[in-house]
């Protein structure tokens, strides 16, 4: 009753021109957009304002605007640039492995395989299990004397144990390894879904043309998987860039000696331990601008926001 009336009303809208097509689009899109922007707008502008203020321990309730001083602080310390570089390495290495491992496993799981369903379900576990206990378990696995990893290295690979959590490069690697473990099931699931959209006929045609497995991948699979993977990769990059949890938990807050930090964990430490909210807001704005600039470039190159068909 009511639904058909709505249906007819909407139907009337489309028998006319372009403007009404736009209306339909707006109706479809409005609820999501309203929820999104409503939630984020106020906190965002709050931070913009705070970043120009001196909100801190001594000026907690009575802060006032002081211009660009916090930004000067952010850019003047050399530590900003080293941590920025580390963040880039962190992001690139993580996303690269997430996607590669995810896609490879999805391809393998898409074939005929014994116990496929069970394996697929088991491989989803890192995504399903709460992050905290897993990060702490990995941390204990990296323990120099008692951790499973060093024991494995010493016994089976006959190599010297690594001081995982005591040295900066090793600690950073430990965090990366843990995060890769946590992140690949997500990409694998996306890839599995994406593989379903590729029509079988294209593979058959390629077979007739005598293409090898490798060629089939690059000419058929990869291009058609792209539109489905691009959102995941873009957001994967953004999320990994901003991921505080894993670095914090595995390295115990930046150990050794505050060397294991990415920009966001540095914001957390520098700001929250010392109540420097103005500084934290400025640093957060800088992180935001970096990611914004990156996405504009990235999206332009992949033309992901256009209609494909």
């Amino acid at each position: 009753m009511k639904s058909t009336r709505w249906g007819i009303a909407i139907g009337h809208w489309f028998d006319s021109e372009r403007l009404s097509t736009e209306k339909f689009a707006y109706i479809l899109m409005a609820p999501a957009a309203i929820v999104m922007f409503g939630v984020v707008v106020y906190p965002f502008f709050y931070n913009v304002v705070i970043s120009f203020s001196n909100m801190s321990l001594r000026h907690f309730r009575d802060w006032h605007l002081i211009g660009l001083k916090q930004y000067e602080e952010v850019f003047s310390g050399r530590i900003f640039y080293t941590v920025f570089l580390k963040t880039i390495i962190w992001t690139v290495v993580n996303v690269f492995f997430h996607v590669t491992i995810g896609v490879v496993l999805a391809l393998i799981l898409n074939r005929k395989l014994f116990g496929k369903a069970a394996i697929r379900t088991l491989l989803i576990l890192p995504w399903a299990i709460p992050q905290v206990i897993v990060a702490l378990t990995w941390r204990s696995m990296f323990n120099y004397e008692y951790g499973a990893i060093n024991l494995f290295i010493a016994h089976y690979l006959r190599m010297a144990p690594v001081e995982w959590l005591g040295k900066p490069l090793e600690a950073f690697s430990a965090c990366i390894i843990t995060n890769i473990w946590l992140g690949f099931p997500f990409m694998m699931t996306i890839a599995l879904g994406g593989l379903q959209s590729i029509p079988q006929e294209l593979y058959e045609a390629a077979d007739i043309d005598g293409a090898s497995g490798w060629q089939k991948f690059w000419t058929v699979t990869a291009p058609l998987l792209r539109p489905v993977m691009i959102p995941a990769i873009t957001l994967g990059i953004i999320w990994t860039f901003n991921n505080v949890n894993i670095i914090w938990l595995v390295s115990n807050g930046g150990e050794p000696s505050d060397q294991t930090h990415i920009l966001v964990s540095y914001v957390y430490k520098a700001a929250f331990n010392l109540y420097r909210y103005g500084y934290a807001a400025a640093l957060s704005m800088v992180i935001f601008v970096i990611l914004f600039a990156f996405s504009l470039v990235f999206l332009k190159r992949t033309r992901a926001s256009e209609v494909v068909y």
């Binding site: 689009a25 705070i50 299990i129 959209s197 999320w239 909210y277 996405s295």
Partner: protein
């Protein structure tokens, strides 16, 4: 020649299978470790022995979890919130994603980028203003505040994902349906949505996981212990230097079960392969 190719194929197949098994082992080891922690007496996170079943193992932690803690209450609360977020996410993302995929309208590009932009701001500094906002709206200590925030966290990815998937479904299919007399909405519902099932599954899974395991926002917003979700409940076992690791580990494992179950349930639509043969027309 053909025989060599056949054997080569078999070797490749074996290598691939072993790769998958290898990864499964890598995935399982830490999880089995967590299981060991849950069985270990005296709340020890670490152990000097690598035994999977520790000395003095018992299911005591599980028993306590279900009988002496409000675990089931937290479970129910989490289910309520997560399913709401999932349903809302699927509805909003499937419609918005369709709009972005099929139409070219004023403000489209900026809205799409805008969705991404909402993810770029580091979450740590958003907590304070979000709390103040919810306080002013009297939404502190209520589920709706939490549900709205979770949905908005999950939406950008879901909308983009749905759009990307819709992009792989040829428009000709909808045109064919419309020629047969379906309305735009009908074509969307009956032709496009079923083909987009894998993406809907991903949207559902992602929304669910976002809500199910989230801690920070819930901790700031929910003050009443009867409203606690599972992550908040698990945190009660933690104490900066005196964590009840047995309970915590047991709780964590149980918490992952619904997520895995959901994946199992939805995976038949994830790999439905419905586009097979539908292009010819």
């Amino acid at each position: 020649m053909k025989e060599k190719k056949g054997r080569f194929r078999k070797i490749i197949a074996l290598i691939l299978y072993l790769t998958v098994i290898g990864f499964t082992i890598i995935v399982l080891y830490p999880i089995i470790n967590v299981f060991s922690i849950s069985l270990r007496p005296a709340d020890r996170l670490l152990s000097t022995s690598l035994k999977i079943i520790p000395d003095g193992a018992s299911f005591h932690a599980y028993k306590v979890l279900f009988t002496e803690t409000p675990f089931l209450l937290w479970f129910w609360n989490s289910v309520l919130i997560s399913l709401t977020v999932t349903a809302t996410g699927v509805v909003l993302a499937s419609t918005a994603g369709y709009a972005f995929s099929r139409f070219n309208f004023y403000g489209k590009k900026s809205t799409m980028v805008g969705l991404l932009v909402t993810q770029m701001f580091p979450p740590t500094m958003l907590l304070l203003p979000m709390y103040i906002m919810l306080l002013k709206l009297h939404l502190i200590n209520s589920y709706i505040g939490v549900i709205v925030i979770y949905t908005s966290t999950a939406l950008p990815f879901c909308v983009w994902q749905m759009k990307g998937y819709y992009d792989t479904i040829p428009f000709s299919l909808e045109e064919a349906a419309r020629i047969d007399g379906a309305t735009r909405w009908g074509a969307f519902r009956k032709v496009v949505l079923p083909l987009a099932a894998p993406a809907l599954v991903i949207t559902a899974l992602f929304s669910f996981m976002t809500a199910w395991a989230e801690y920070v926002v819930a901790a700031q917003v929910l003050q009443d212990t009867s409203l606690f979700t599972l992550p908040l409940g698990l945190k009660q076992f933690e104490s900066s230097m005196s964590t009840q690791w047995g309970l915590y580990a047991a709780g964590s494992l149980i918490v992952s079960i619904p997520a895995v179950a959901l994946f199992l349930f939805l995976s038949r639509w994830l790999i439905s392969g419905l586009t097979l043969g539908s292009v010819k027309g």
